[in-house]
Amino acid sequence: MLPENHIPGAYAGENQINCRIHDGPCSRSLSGLEVTLDISPKPVKAMQDLVFKVSLAGEGPDQAPYIDLGMPGMKMGPNRVILEKISRTVYEGKGVIVRCPSGRRTWQATVTVPGKGKADFIFDVIY
């Protein structure tokens, strides 16, 4: 069962947003694994310290997942959030989403689960 705020990729709007991160965690399926991303505090604002939490349902990986932050269609440089294991299926790490002076607010968090693949979460942040 997907969370209420999950927007299936097939129905994503023109700007590709597939997650309403301000409302709560979002989930994506990945090779038999359900990957859930949550970011706090909410609402999710740029230029502040954020906590990224990834929960996995299914057979977990041997290595911790990590998150790469970027903007769809725009190179912003490598901004990786290193996650640490909090419990058997939950990982957490700190990171910052920066402000783009162009005014674009749509960001992408790509969760890489070693040995399983990548899940993209595309959402708007507040500037």
Partner: protein, 230 residues
């Protein structure tokens, strides 16, 4: 955990790649304005000074991030400076655009040879007549403060180098070094744009200067609006 050397290489490469994409889009109008304003003279040296100033500012910011070990702590303190830099850049470009074709408002007043004028008039005259090669170094220092996504990303990494540093000096040097590597990576793209806009290859320059002036004024207004809204 990546070594500092590997991070320098990664961020030099990042600077190089974003230079040919993001930087040309965001800073291109600025660099083109400088080249048009120079009207083909000393373009390479002037832009070298501009880039040196810009990279020095990056280095200081990176050093501060490295000492603090926190991106958000430092960025919160410089947000006002960045807003000011954005507005100042817009004003600079507008004045250059106006001056290039002698479209300065109240032109006779400003060009009066013997006027003693106030600070405003003297400042306006200096801004509109930036032809000195060395003047581009302090301009670079100021414009290194311009808010920019990839610069922020590099500064996050610079702050990261400071976490766990044995002392403040090491934190400063490692953060500054990373930003120098990033800044150097962005130089080729901006120099290339500067040279292409230098108009040395054009035979009929008058029309280009006219069009360039209008575009510079529009670009300057965009910078000012962004500065006010940010």
């Amino acid at each position: 955990m990546l070594s500092i050397d590997a991070l320098y290489l990664i961020f030099f490469t990042t600077g190089f790649t974003v230079g040919f994409g993001h930087c040309i889009g965001m800073c291109g109008p600025l660099v083109v304005s400088f080249s048009l304003n120079l009207k083909g003279k000393n373009i390479f040296i002037s832009h070298a000074f501009y880039n040196a100033g810009r990279i020095l500012t990056y280095a200081v910011l990176g050093g501060l991030m490295g000492v603090a070990g926190s991106f958000t702590a430092v960025s919160a303190k410089i947000v006002g400076l960045q807003q000011g830099a954005l507005i100042a850049t817009g004003v600079l470009i507008v004045v250059m655009g106006l001056a290039m074709n002698e479209w300065l408002p109240f032109g006779k007043y400003f060009r009066r040879e013997n006027h003693t004028g106030g600070i405003f008039v003297r400042g306006f005259n200096k801004l509109s007549a930036i032809k000195s090669t060395y003047a581009y170094f302090p301009i670079g220092l100021l414009l290194g403060l311009l808010p920019c996504g990839p610069v922020y990303t590099a500064l996050i990494a610079a702050a990261g180098t400071g976490i766990g540093s044995p002392n403040a000096l090491y934190g400063f040097l490692s953060g500054a070094g990373l930003m120098v590597a990033f800044g150097l990576g962005t130089v080729p793209a901006l120099i290339l744009v500067a040279k292409l806009a230098g108009l040395g290859w054009l035979t009929s320059r008058r029309l280009i200067y006219r069009i360039g002036s209008v575009l510079m004024i529009l670009a300057g207004v965009v910078y000012i609006v962004r500065g006010i809204r940010s």
